[in-house]
Structures are given as structure tokens and as C-alpha cells.
């Protein structure tokens, strides 16, 4: 198991960040996200917290370092693949926090990645202003901090390679033996370490892209509201299709 942590903050108010979170796809940094659906959404009548479950479909390429451990035919040519990501979020607007959790749903035996983010409202008005008369004209009144913790767990080499797929067709004893033979050549712990480290490396760049994408959406939100974000999405889509948007 590996854990990766990082913290940063957005120079936008907490409500704006939560809105941008729901609106973040598509953006120029999310060309790999093919679709986003809302599976469930409700406001808890007692706490007034908004709970949302979404399903994202993302295009991915299995890194060569992981591909070599997989049976052939598990991915497309060159390791091209698609994966479903389940995202769950809870927002408490009164208390000023949002908790999110995203995880892959398939091939969790190869590598299970769970990303948890904690967003917190950071009021700047608590800092005493030397001149009270300028209070109203101060640009930024609050920022929003975001702490990310990503957990990586690989079970490769433990005969659990097919993860959830095992339900679909039970393997014959011969297949099982063959698999054990294949993995016996490697140390299970070594394989897992390698795969987990590849996951960490990928996550580092994915987190940077995620933040850049959020900032694009937040800037559009500030300049043109929700309409501005939707117009930006249309332009992105035209550009992605190779057409001349303007």
C-alpha cells in the first residue's frame, strides 16, 4: 500500500469551488473524460447537506510497466482502455466543507486507487484590517483549501488479478494453476510495489491537471457565471473536434 498526500488552495470562495466541482468536466485539461452521469443526489433533511454520487467514464492507457504483468487481451492495442470512476461528494455549506471520494471500479485487484479530497472554507476576514474603511473594497474575502489523500493498493500476484471480474465466470483449476505459474516468476511484493509506484507517479500529474481544470472553470465562473462556464465548454468541444470554434 502507498499513500500520497498533497495540499493546495483555490483563490475563490467556497461556494464557487463547490459549483466548479460539479461543473469541472469538460474542461481543456479533461480530454480523457468521456462522460459524467449523476447516479444519486439528495439533500439530507436533517443536516441540509448535499450528497451526490456520480459515475465518470475515463479514457486511459495502461502504462507499459503494468501492462507486462497482465494477460494479453485484457486491454486494447498499446494498453488503451476505458475505466469507470465512482465519485461521491458531501457538501455542508453552513459549516463550509466538502468531502469527496473517487475510486476506480474495475481491475481493483491490479490497482485500487482511492482519492479523498477535503475542501475547507478559509475566511480571510478574520485577519484584522488596519483600515476598516477599506473593508468593502478588499478583493478576496476567502479562499478554499483542498487536501488530497490518495491510497494505492495492488493485489497483483495474489491470484486476485481479475478483481471483480471473478463473479462473471469462475475460472477452471487449470487456468488458476497457469496463473500461479506465471506470477511465481516474480515476487508478489515486488510487483505490487512497482504497480503502486506507477500509480503514484500518474496521480501526481493527474492532480496538477485536475487543479488546472478547476481553475479554468472557476475563472469562467467569475467572468460569466454558469452561462460563461457552459459557453466555455462549447468552445472546448468544438476545438476538441478539430473544428473552428470562432
Amino acid at each position: 500500500m502507498k499513500i500520497y498526500e498533497s495540499s493546495f488552495s483555490y483563490d475563490y470562495t467556497f461556494p464557487a469551488v463547490t459549483l466548479a466541482y460539479f461543473l469541472r468536466y469538460p474542461n481543456p485539461y479533461s480530454r480523457h473524460v468521456l462522460s459524467t452521469d449523476v447516479i444519486d443526489r439528495y439533500v439530507d433533511p436533517e443536516t441540509q447537506r448535499l450528497h451526490t454520487v456520480r459515475l465518470h467514464l475515463k479514457k486511459s492507457k495502461v502504462p507499459a510497466g503494468i501492462l507486462k504483468f497482465l494477460p494479453r487481451g485484457l486491454t486494447g492495442p498499446g494498453g488503451s482502455s476505458q475505466s469507470y470512476i465512482l465519485e461521491k461528494s458531501t457538501i455542508d455549506l453552513k459549516e463550509g466543507w466538502m468531502e469527496t471520494e473517487s475510486k476506480n471500479m474495475e481491475w481493483t485487484g491490479i490497482l485500487s486507487v482511492i482519492e479523498r479530497q477535503s475542501y475547507r472554507r478559509q475566511p480571510l476576514s478574520e485577519i484584522p484590517s488596519p483600515d476598516l474603511s477599506t473593508d468593502e473594497t478588499q478583493g478576496i474575502k476567502e479562499t478554499t483549501s483542498c487536501k488530497t489523500v490518495v491510497t494505492f493498493v495492488s493485489q497483483l500476484g495474489q491470484g486476485k488479478i481479475l478483481g471483480r471480474k471473478k463473479h462473471e465466470h469462475s475460472k477452471t483449476p487449470e487456468e488458476e494453476t497457469h496463473k500461479q505459474g506465471f506470477f511465481a516468476a516474480w515476487s508478489a511484493a515486488g510487483i505490487q510495489r512497482t504497480v503502486e509506484l506507477i500509480g503514484v507517479k500518474r496521480t501526481k500529474s493527474a492532480l496538477v491537471n485536475g487543479k488546472e481544470g478547476m481553475n479554468v472553470v472557476l475563472e469562467r465562473l467569475r467572468n460569466g457565471g454558469v452561462v460563461g462556464v457552459l459557453e466555455g465548454m462549447r468552445r472546448d468541444r468544438l476545438e476538441a473536434m478539430g473544428g473552428e470554434g470562432h
Binding site: P15, T18, L19, F22, L23, Y25, P26, V33, L34, S35, T36, D37, V38, I39, R41, V43, D44, E46, T47, Q48, R49, L50, V53, L55, L57, Y84, L86, K88, T90, L93, K94, E99, E101, K103, M105, E106, R164, H167, G225, V226, L230, M233
Partner: protein
């Protein structure tokens, strides 16, 4: 707006998304969360999506994955 994984659900998804964004930015953010005017649209969208998820065989996997993440507000606070 982001696309649905089922193209046949795109139209109703866009209607629901538009409704939600309006409700969220104009009401929920301002502390008024009592009414959920998007519920009828969400039901339509969900009906379309549920069918598509079943056809694609994603429903079982989704239920299994969700079982592992269901937690109450109380559990959330303890984190």
C-alpha cells in the same frame, strides 16, 4: 455540459443538469435548500440511465462499488 455515457439520455440529462445548476447556484448556495424542483427531471433522467447501465452490464459493478462507500453523516464526522 458533460455528456452522458448513454447518448439516448443526453437530452434529459442536459435538462436535469440545467435545472440542478440553477437550483444550486441560486438557492442552495444561498441557504434555501427546502424545495427540490429538479426531482421530476431527475426521475426521468435516472429511468433512462438505469436502463442504459443495465444494458451495458455496469449496474452490478456499480452496486458493488457503492456498497463500499455508503456512509452516514455520523461516520463522515468521525473522519
Amino acid at each position: 455540459m458533460s455528456a452522458s455515457l448513454a447518448p439516448e439520455c443526453n437530452e434529459v440529462k442536459e435538462k436535469y443538469d440545467t435545472c440542478f445548476l440553477k437550483w444550486y447556484s441560486e438557492k442552495y448556495i444561498r441557504g434555501n435548500s427546502s424545495t427540490d424542483e429538479c426531482e421530476p427531471l431527475f426521475k426521468q433522467y435516472k429511468a433512462c440511465l438505469t436502463k442504459a447501465l443495465r444494458e451495458k452490464g455496469v449496474d452490478t459493478m456499480l452496486n458493488e462499488a457503492r456498497e463500499g462507500t455508503v456512509e452516514t453523516d455520523a461516520e463522515h464526522l468521525r473522519r
